[in-house]
């Protein structure tokens, strides 16, 4: 896959918000998530704790209907979950009403022994009812070039 193709697609698509979502953070889901991941800190597993909050990776599961824009060009083949990162600005709490925006944060290629892999970074940004940032989740999707 020629670098120029990636560069062109990158210039056109990176930073464009293509989906939005409103959600309410569910207490039971938070609790089941934390317990099944092995959390024992009361902040994550005791709903009556005054600082009860979602465990670190909780927002990574929140999906939207589309991982890529409808008219996003076909890049490479297959699809591998290359990993996720989360960055927190403040704790996510049960009952929080959040707004999420999804955009393509980056597109880049790496070439190794197994050929060229294209990385597409899908970014979901969560804000609260006042518009203040809560968390950002990046999901790296890998495609064979």
């Amino acid at each position: 896959m020629a670098n120029v193709d990636i560069a062109t697609i990158r210039d056109e698509w990176v930073g464009r918000v293509f989906q939005e979502l409103d959600l309410v953070v569910d207490r039971e889901r938070m609790l089941d998530w934390a317990i099944s991941c092995g959390e024992t800190d009361p902040r994550f597993v005791d709903p009556d704790h005054p600082d009860f909050q979602a465990s670190t990776a909780f927002p990574t599961h929140i999906n939207v209907a589309r991982m890529l824009p409808d008219d996003f060009p076909q890049i490479g083949t297959g699809g591998i979950d290359g990993g996720k990162s989360i960055e927190w600005q403040r704790p996510m709490r049960a009952g929080d009403r959040l707004h999420a925006e999804v955009q393509i944060a980056d597109i880049y290629a790496k070439t190794g022994r197994s050929g060229t892999m294209v990385f597409i970074v899908n970014r979901m940004t969560f804000t609260d009812a006042d518009g203040a940032p809560v968390a950002t989740v990046d999901w790296r999707m890998i495609r064979q070039g």
Binding site: S36, C37, N63, I86
Partner: protein, 133 residues
């Protein structure tokens, strides 16, 4: 755990999280990703996988739990993980972490991994930034 108590290179106590089918089922329901590839070995093999696989984001959650136990009351500011190899449900794994940086603001950087105890393969690796109390 206070910042004064931490030294570069400190290793977190190893953890062996519960990766039983029952626990993975509870997780995937909470995560709204209740797919057979995570909960049914035969269905996963039919997809070409070696067996039902532990969701990568569950592994991420297990690493966070390890850090929270090491430093009660800490805040994980960020956690970046790479999913390298599928970890199989019911096959023992071990979580490890080591402090790789300490800054003056009470924030430490920790390299984390999850390794299959059966194959020795690294399933997940990553880095966390953690504010200590």
């Amino acid at each position: 755990m206070r910042i004064e108590d931490v030294e570069l290179g400190d290793e977190l106590p190893e953890e062996r999280p519960d990766v039983s089918l029952e626990t993975v089922r509870r997780f995937v329901k909470a995560a709204e990703m209740d797919f057979p590839r995570f909960t049914d070995h035969e269905a996963a093999r039919a997809e070409g996988l070696p067996g039902a696989v532990i969701p990568g984001i569950m592994s991420q959650g297990q690493l966070a739990a390890m850090i929270h136990r090491w430093a009660p009351g800490c805040s994980i500011l960020s956690l970046d993980t790479i999913f390298r190899t599928s970890m199989i449900v019911g096959t023992p794994v071990v979580c490890r972490g080591a402090v790789t940086d300490i800054d003056d603001d009470g924030i430490v950087e920790i390299d984390v991994t999850i390794i299959s105890e059966t194959s020795g393969a690294t399933g997940v690796l990553g880095t966390a930034r953690v504010r200590l109390t």
